[in-house]
Symmetry: C2
Subunit: 412 residues, 2 copies
């Protein structure tokens, strides 16, 4: 059986490396007589690369070669990844992808083609890198009703927040460090503004709830506005700030989904997930809380997830896999403003004592927070729980304070 | 399709409960037209129980009923569980078991019968309760060479150690508390002496390395000798004491496996696994460290793992699953005394300064530990790494100290 890789970047070359390095054990597990990498599609040149002879530029070579039964898509981006993957599936080839943008936007369509053609479309690597999460979610937790799922799904932002928390460095400084270390891209927008985490929570919630949740339905906030003052107040409150992606099914069958920085209590299993690590907490009715932890990105962890999918395709060549979800014709995600939460509020107030009294009169029983070197005109507190809309409306009535930062309190 | 349960204790009744409560979603996932619980085998009476009508005492009723395609074994113990499970598999029924004693002792034999009969023998619930671990290990990590695996696999001992660490209560007090809370059995030997964790590490290492590792090959120590003084010294060292089950493949293909209390550094992902929770850290060559965390025991978590296996049996009625291991004809576990480790040593010494000097002269660069209210005739230190045999031999030469406690330093 032959394999092709589309996209010879970090992850694609990692797949080639793992396939080669662990060839014998992979072949044995795949239950095939042979398993060879035949083509690598890329528009770039790789002079001197050990796989140079396999590099091709014409996608049709892969499409028309019947010996290629499994195609790995590690190109990233929506186009032409979508067209190429669709064509491969339609031609009866199984496809393994690490492309969260593609799966989050087009997973329903691609799964449907895979089902019609009785082939596999697998994408374990698209969420949580090397952490096995999609299979455990779909198989091992099959007996549970899943109440909610909370994830630290982006390594770059988690690295930045960890450095801010542990070393007291500000956002811009750490972002530069992360870029120098290769933990952040030159254009870090997709990471720091939460889009990457949003795509992943869309994939997870689509899988859990069986209906496609599209990224533009999910309210998404990043971490670029987080100040060291917020980090200190979180410590005073008894927790840390993490970028949390959350999905929850409501009683009416609608989905609550949100990506935003939030206060996480220190005793949460997500509070100690540091640096570039990811973790996913799944709350099931029978199983209780289950957490999956590991490297959410990186060449070899991601490649290992892809190769595991390749092995699965080998073991089930003509059998469609059991996870899949349906397209959603109308928005099934509720407005986050209607959901219950507590809010952390940091504000400027010329007369702090009176401002706190006013906040207490407005919100009820607030928790006042303090920090070292707190400016005399700064207050911070955590509100009781209410809908976010009600809390924000109340905040607007507090004319004596000027909000500087508003963050949610996570219930994980 | 009909299901039978053998053993209507805590876990067996949990299975009946989950099957009933989530019947519709389970039926849908199982891809069967029906999925009904037909028999419950138990020697006891359950007057007034909602499933009273299903209770039978004659195993042959299950064996001879061809409509029963899946049998759940939640009896525990080796006999007659082994005979019943063998008979069911031989009769072409799939079996799902939560019985770690059975799988650890007879997994190879039962897997072989299942293979011959082309049916499933699944036992996700036997390790880690509701934590999906066996499938991720065998499938999702298929692309990795697994260097090592470290587990907190027993909830009772982890609860006891957590209370000792956090509340400063001694072992006997906490054991009594645990027994009152139902976290420990009346006869707690299997838990506190490490036998339960040993069975689970045997199952995990057999699965990873493909060769049966039998429990009596694995050196096993429990926690009943742990003193609060040791807990305090661990804190001084920068960590906590946990009962760690460990398996590792050596370069020569032999297995290093061990169950013992050990110092775990505070920044290990296993250090914050508290109370009755379990966690398994898997160290792969490509994926790096991956951790699975959740409730390792309890009625519903364990039942949910069993029901997930039932669903898997429904989806793959005649297809044998892909995990299995071979019998081991000779001991493949190396002597733990030949393995490298550091040791924590607490000892009585009439002349502590001289004893520390002697220890330094004997072991080289030791780390001296102190604790609050340390008796004037007590010393504690951590040795550099060497084989355990060499370290213990050196300790015997230290005539001026009387060892009170010796614990290993975990490398997880």
């Amino acid at each position: 059986m032959n394999v092709a890789i589309m996209g010879y970047g970090v992850v694609g070359s990692g797949v080639a490396e793992v396939l080669k390095k662990n060839h014998d054990s992979i072949l044995k597990k795949s239950m095939q007589s042979s398993l060879e990498l035949k083509y690598i599609l890329d528009i770039r040149d790789f002079p001197g690369d050990e796989n140079e002879a396999l590099i091709i530029r014409d996608f049709n070579k892969i499409l028309e070669d019947d010996s290629v039964r499994i195609v790995v898509e590690t190109m990233g981006g929506l186009h032409p990844a979508f067209e190429f993957v669709s064509a491969c599936l339609s031609a009866g080839k199984s496809v393994v992808s690490s492309n969260k943008e593609l799966v989050a936007a087009k997973g329903d369509v691609l799964l449907q083609i895979a089902e019609e053609k009785n082939v596999n479309f697998l994408f374990e690597a698209s969420v949580g890198g090397g952490i096995p999460i999609l299979r455990p979610l779909s198989q091992c937790l099959a007996a549970n009703e899943i109440y909610a799922l909370y994830g630290i799904l982006n390594g770059t932002t988690n690295f930045i927040l960890t450095k801010m928390i542990n070393d007291g460095l500000d956002f811009d400084t750490v972002l530069r460090m992360a870029q120098e270390n290769g933990y952040a891209e030159k254009d870090p927008t997709a990471d720091i503004e939460g889009h990457d985490a949003c795509r992943k929570i869309c994939i997870l919630s689509s899988l859990i709830y069986g209906k496609h949740v599209y990224p533009d339905w999910v309210h998404t906030e990043g971490i670029s506005h987080i100040d060291l003052a917020d980090v200190d107040y979180a410590k005073c409150w008894g927790g840390v700030i993490k970028l949390i992606a959350k999905a929850k099914e409501l009683d009416n069958g609608m989905i609550s989904a949100l990506v935003s920085p939030a206060f996480v209590p220190a005793d949460s299993q997500l509070a100690n997930v540091n640096d570039v690590f990811n973790a996913i907490l799944v709350r099931g009715d029978a199983t209780g809380d289950v957490v999956f932890y590991g490297r959410g990105a990186g060449k070899l962890p991601t490649a290992s997830a892809i190769v595991a999918d390749i092995i699965d395709c080998c073991q089930h060549t003509r059998q469609k896999k059991l996870f899949g979800w349906k397209p959603s014709t109308e928005n099934i995600v509720v407005d986050y403003l209607d959901q219950p939460t507590s809010l952390y509020i940091r504000a400027e107030a010329a007369q702090p004592d009176e401002a706190i009294a006013a906040a207490r009169a407005t919100f009820g029983s607030i928790t006042v927070l303090t920090r070292k070197d707190q400016p005399t005109n700064e207050i911070a507190f955590v509100t009781p729980e209410d809908t976010e809309r009600a809390l924000r409306t109340k905040l607007e009535t507090l004319h004596s304070v000027k909000p500087l930062s508003v963050l949610r309190i996570a219930d994980c």
